[in-house]
Amino acid sequence: MAPLLDIRDLSLVFDTFDGTYHAIDKVSLQLKPGEALGLVGETGCGKSVLTRAAFGLVPVPPARITSGSVRLDGRELLGLSDRALRGIRGSEVAMIFQDPMTYLNPVFRVGTQLVDAIRAQSGGRIGKAEAKSIALDMLDKVHLPNPDRQFRAYPHELSGGMRQRVLIAMALAAKPKLLIADEPTTALDVTIQAQILDLMAELVEDLGLAMIMISHDLGVVAQVCSRVAVMYAGKIVEDAPIGRIFDAPAHPYTQGLLAALPHPFKPVDRLASIPGTLPDLLHPPAGCRFAGRCAQAHAACAAPVPLRAVGPQHRVACTLYEDAAPEGAAHV
């Protein structure tokens, strides 16, 4: 199947006063229609920047895209005008973010904002009454209790979980093909997080929506996504089906990340921690960016390491797997 989103060799730098900060380095990522991908990594790994850059949400300057292409449904997005990108973000790609309050205007009623958003997404083709019925329909789809009453509420009258539901409704009203969810549950309590994750899994399934869920929490991603890409210091180091990530993680960083997680239902005596800190991305190493913290690093790690297939739909960027199956054989 042709990929819905095809990011190839995307590199992005920030020009800072101290030098050039290499935030994203030659990242390639494909997403099939209807696929739910988790993009996982720690602070500063570039997971948010990657998806924002792909849809023109990173201000240029200070950012600068130095190479690569981003295709949505075969159409190149890099180089499109701001206006064209806004159109795509409204209709084909929808985004939700960590803090829902920041994305709702506190002085307008929830319903007004929903109706405005829906009309803007349609380019003004939808009338007020129709937009309202779509909005109420969407609020019902995201299981907001009492949609009629909440329609007239102001954002501060809603709880965090309800606001996130409203934003999801707003995002999905235009029937996008792709949903980008950037840490959508990080600000929420555990029981509310579980509700929102259930909702997202349900919507992805029902609407045939493709999704990229950005998270620092492998446990959260595991509940919604079928595939995970692990990022480290601006590169994707491993890309695999969710089961493989937990059962047979290949990259030493992924292994380290999993070993660092305490488990709620298993007694764990010691957690492994990853020594060292992120490399300085003003002067990134030419080879594997994790080599400086990796116990298994050796001479070959100083040269650039591409992603290689090590199993069905399982790619990893690590010199330990140099003699694994060739790239072509892996795609099933």
């Binding site: 709880s159 309800m162 029981t191 997080q193 579980a194 446990g219 997680l261």
Partner: protein
């Protein structure tokens, strides 16, 4: 230590209410009793608005209590004054969630750690310097860091400074208020390792570990208390509570925890609705508005009894006895 009580921290029927400008009252903590034995690590778990942080801060008198009693060793915290309060500062310390905002941006970390010693001991000059350096090095911060300012350190390093600042006074009780929530997973693992090592190094140190993260509680604590809207609804040994939860809220909480395993979990208890505001705590059992097993005419009128389940495990629920692990 007093002979009459073997508790390091004893909280009896603590109430902390905050009046709001509009006349409403936030019942942040509404009748909490909790006892920590010397050397014990107890987890206090709950969601936002449960009052868990308020309990921790009140125990150190950073927040005034409305009613109740708190003892640290034989010291009466709520009625302590002058000299007693100074002793309290040496005996009990706290570590906060955000290591960045809990360090004064204008102080080097050496100065930050020295602050407690300057205030509470007669240590000065060389001896002070050495004690500070020693503590920072023990926390994994080599000397070249000691003259840096907080903004030049990473989050994990800053949290190590905060731990050093608390431990330099050799406290008997350490309150940890979500100390790893603001940190990345790999850094969290380091800090959790530091905290677990403390138990071996200072066997008498008692820790109250406040967190919303059940996996972290499981890793670090021996006992756990679950809070909901200002009350402890279940408490007991960690393994017993996690494997055989008696309160429906604990069940829901446990089944909502994201587990680092593939696939969705089958044993799901999903709660509907949101946590009520602590200004309007529901009558009867505070949880009845979201409870899957609540019975009309009982749960919404009668406060639930405390039902013991053996081994120090108890839950505040009308149906705690009937709850069986499936």
């Amino acid at each position: 230590m007093s002979e009459t009580s073997d508790a390091m921290l004893a909280i009896r029927d603590l109430k902390v209410h905050f009046p709001l400008a509009n006349g409403q009252v936030v019942r942040a903590v509404d009748g909490v009793s909790l006892t920590l034995r010397p050397g014990e690590t107890v987890g206090l778990v709950g969601e936002s608005g449960s009052g868990k942080t308020t309990v921790g801060k009140t125990a150190l008198r950073l927040v005034p209590a409305t009613d109740g009693e708190i003892r640290i060793g034989e010291l009466d915290v709520l009625n302590a004054s002058g000299r007693d309060l100074r002793r309290l500062r040496r005996k009990a310390q706290i570590i906060f969630q955000d290591p960045h905002s809990s360090l004064n941006p204008r102080m080097t970390i050496r100065r930050a750690v020295a602050e407690g010693l300057i205030l509470n001991t007669s240590l000065r000059g060389r001896a002070l310097r050495e004690k500070v350096s020693e503590t920072l090095i023990a926390m994994g911060l080599p000397p070249q860091f000691h003259d840096r300012f907080p903004h030049e350190l990473s989050g994990g390093q800053k949290q190590r400074v905060c731990i050093a600042r608390a431990l330099v006074l050799d406290p008997d009780l350490l309150v940890l208020d979500e100390p790893t929530s603001a940190l990345d997973v790999s850094v969290q693992a380091q800090i959790l390792g530091v905290l677990k090592d403390l138990r071996a190094e200072r066997p008498s140190l008692t820790q109250l570990f406040i967190s919303h993260n059940l996996a972290v509680i499981r890793f670090l604590c021996q006992r756990v208390a679950v809070m909901y809207l200002g009350k402890i609804v279940e408490e007991g040994p960690v393994e017993q509570v996690f494997s055989d939860p008696r309160h429906p809220y604990t069940r829901a909480l446990l089944s909502a925890v994201p587990v680092p395993e593939a696939g969705r979990r089958p044993d799901r208890t999903r709660l509907t609705g949101d946590i009520p505001s602590p200004t309007a705590v529901p009558k009867g059992c505070a949880f009845h508005t979201r409870c899957p097993v609540a019975r009309k005419g009982l749960c919404d009128t009668t406060p639930p009894p405390r039902v013991a389940a053996g081994g120090g495990h108890a839950a505040l629920c009308h149906f705690a006895g009937e709850m069986q692990t499936t």
